[in-house]
Symmetry: C2
Subunit: 126 residues, 2 copies
């Protein structure tokens, strides 16, 4: 069950994602909004937005959950899978607009996959 009511929490969170092209970690969102929204609410709204296909999530190398806007605004499909890039210098984490081939696995059913790349982003590589 996703978002049903337009509340302040929902609007504040959506605004954060509208104001950026990159992914945002739960930690960062709690840092930014924790004084106005309780962290429990932040977690709950994020997962509802994910259910609604507004956001998608993935785990960073540190095991922290990250969220980013979905371009297609529909429930994430296996075919939508794109890699994510995490910069070790500035921390910026973003979706890569690249198609990844999920290997065909005989005798196995593939339900979800996650491809994450760690390195230095365009600004930090210098």
């Amino acid at each position: 069950m996703g978002i049903i009511r337009k509340t302040e929490s929902v609007e504040l969170l959506l605004k954060e994602f509208h104001d950026t092209e990159t992914a945002l970690s739960t930690i960062e969102l709690i840092k930014r909004l924790g004084k106005r929204i309780n962290k429990t609410t932040i977690y709950r709204v994020l997962s509802k937005l994910e259910e609604d296909g507004v956001l998608h999530s993935f785990l960073g190398f540190d095991g922290v959950k990250w969220f980013a806007r979905c371009k297609s605004h529909t429930q994430v499909q296996i075919s939508d899978i794109h890699p994510h890039f995490q910069c070790i210098s500035c921390g910026k984490t973003e979706c890569l607009d690249i198609k990844v081939d999920i290997p065909k696995l005989v005798n196995r059913e593939v339900l979800l996959s996650q491809f994450i790349i760690k390195g230095k982003c365009n600004l930090c590589v210098a």
Copy 2:
């Protein structure tokens, strides 16, 4: 600084990995060995074995750390990257012997990548 002394903890942990083809989570290892080895020691030995290139690690979809034997027994190189498969039914998690093409990213330096696939394994797909 990796493993320097052959201690009982090291041998017990290595035995677990020798007795299986699959990956093992820290949680599982603590369950199995927690009465004989303190969990702190388990964490420390595992990370030393990783430094030594005996094991490599990755994060499962739940954010829990998994370890598996390295085939090459050398420090993990970017080029060694292979995907991991995690079964949602039985929990079995294993290395896939498949080569993954890491996309070339202009203006970015790639240091590490992780590709994990979730689904049903050969035994659970039926």
